[in-house]
Amino acid sequence: MNLNYLTLLWNRFWFKKQSAISIALFRIFYSLVLLESIILFQPDLYDWFGTHAWTTIQTAKLWENSPRFGLFFINTPDNFIVTAIYSVLVISSITLLFGLFTRISALTVFICLTSIHHRNPLILHSGDTLIRLCSYYLIWSQAGKALSLDSLFSKDKADNTSKEKLYNPWAQRLLQIQICAVYWQSFWGKAAGLTWLKGTAVYYALQLEEFQRFPLMFFGTNPIWLYKFLTYYTLFIEFALFSLIWIKEFRYPVIIAGIFLHLGLDYSMNIPLFQHIMIASYLLFIDPKDIKKLFALLKKKPKAVESAT
C-alpha cells in the first residue's frame, strides 16, 4: 500500500459519482419526520420558547457554559419571534419535502432548528439532535437533484439527454458516517453498563412507566430468557449497524434487523421521532440501482393488472 493507492481509495469513496436517487428519497422521508417533529412542538411552543417559558434565555445561555448560536439570542425574547421562526421552519420543511430550492430550504431548516434547540436544550432527545444534524448535511448534498421540483425545472433536465446525470456523493457519505456514529456512541455507551452485559437492561427499560406505550403480552411473567435475548439482540444490531453495514453482502440483512429493532422500540416505548428518523436513514445505504429496480417494479405492476383485466 502506498500514498497513491490511499488517495485512490479516498477519492473512490467520497467522489465516485453516483445517482442522487437514494439521497433524494431520504430527503422526502426525512422531511416527513421533520414535519412530525414540528407538529409535536406546536401545542407547547410558547411554554418551551416564549416570553414566560419554563427556562429563561439566560439559563439557556449558561447551560453547558458555552456560547451557542441562536436567532432567539439576537433580540429580546417575545412570542412574536417564536411564531416567526416556527412559521419559517414549517415553510422551509415543506419546500424541502418537495425539493424546491432544496439547499436553501435545508439551510433555513438547519438555522431554525439550531435556534430552537439552543433556546431550550433541556427538552431535546436523540431524535431531535439527529434531525438537526441531517439538515446540515442535506445543505451540501445532491438531495434536490432527483424526485424534486428543482430537478423538474433544472437546466440538466432541459439538456434532454436520456442518460441519468451522476453526482459526487460525499455529503451522502458523511450522512452515512453520521448514522454509524449514532450506533457507535449508543453501543459503546451501553458496553460500559453492567445491566447490558448481564442481559437485564431491556427489563429495566420496559419497567420505566414514563416510556410505556402499548401492552407487551409476552412479558407478563417476566421471562428472563426473553429479556436477555432482547438485550443482546439490541447490542448486536447496534454493533452491526456501524460495522457490518459497510459490507455489501451483510448490508440488507443488517438493515432489516435494524428496522425490526426500531419498529419494536416504536411499539413498546414512547420515544417519538428517533425510531422514524433512524428507519428513514437506512435509505442512504440502499444502492441506487436497487431503488430504481423497485420503482420499475412498482411501475410495471399496474400495467400487469391492466393487461390481466
Binding site: 414566560h52 458555552s66 458523511l174 449508543s186 453492567l194 414514563e210 414512547n270
Partner: protein, 179 residues
C-alpha cells in the same frame, strides 16, 4: 487550466472540508480524555456554537432502575395549597404521550438532576406565572417534590425500598415573577 486540474483542486478543498466534518463526528463519538480535549478544543467550541454537537448515549450506561414522579405544591397568599402535577406519560393517551414527551425529558432527565439545579428557580417562576389566575390571591411559595419508586430486581424480584418522597426545592415568589 484543464478541466481535470480544476477538478483536482476542487477535490482537495472538498477533502479538507470532509476531514473537518469527520473530526467533529469523531470528537463527539470517542471517550473524552486529556489528549482528545486538547486536540479538539477549537473544533469542540465551533461545533457547540454552530449546532453540530451530538450525544446519542441512550439508556447508557444503564437504564434507570427507578420510576420518578414530580409534583409542585403552590401555596397562595391566603394560605391555601394547590397540587400541580407535571404531565405523567403513563396516564396520557397515545397522541398526548407523543406531544408531552418533552415534559418527560425536561422533568425526569433534567429537573430531577441535582447537578442542573440552576434551572429550578426558572421552573418555579413558570409555575407561579401559570398558576396566577386570581390577582387578589397570588402564589407565594412554590415547592417542588419528587416521588421515587425502585424497580424490583429481575432475578430476585426484590424491591429494596418503598416509594420515597421529598421536597427538593422551595421558592419564594417575587411580585416581578407574575408580570
Amino acid at each position: 487550466m484543464t478541466h481535470s486540474k480544476l477538478q483536482q483542486i476542487q477535490q482537495c478543498f472538498l477533502s479538507l472540508f470532509i476531514v473537518i466534518n469527520l473530526c467533529i463526528i469523531i470528537l463527539w463519538s470517542i471517550p473524552s480524555c486529556t489528549l482528545t480535549e486538547f486536540l479538539f478544543a477549537p473544533i469542540k467550541n465551533i461545533s457547540q456554537f454552530s449546532g453540530l454537537w451530538q450525544n446519542f448515549a441512550m439508556f447508557s450506561p444503564n437504564p434507570r432502575n427507578v420510576n420518578l414522579n414530580y409534583v409542585a405544591l403552590i401555596t397562595y397568599a391566603d394560605g391555601s395549597v394547590k397540587l400541580w402535577q407535571f404531565p405523567r406519560m403513563e396516564h396520557l393517551n397515545i397522541i398526548d404521550k407523543m406531544i408531552k414527551e418533552r415534559y418527560r425529558k425536561f422533568i425526569n432527565d433534567h429537573v430531577s438532576n441535582e447537578s442542573e439545579k440552576m434551572i429550578w428557580p426558572d421552573v418555579a417562576r413558570h409555575l407561579a406565572y401559570i398558576n396566577n389566575s386570581n390577582p387578589n390571591n397570588p402564589p407565594k411559595v412554590i415547592s417542588l417534590r419528587s416521588f421515587i419508586s425502585e424497580i424490583p430486581d429481575l432475578e430476585t424480584n426484590n424491591k429494596r425500598k418503598e416509594t420515597e418522597s421529598y421536597t427538593f426545592f422551595v421558592y419564594k415568589v417575587m411580585p416581578e415573577d407574575l408580570k
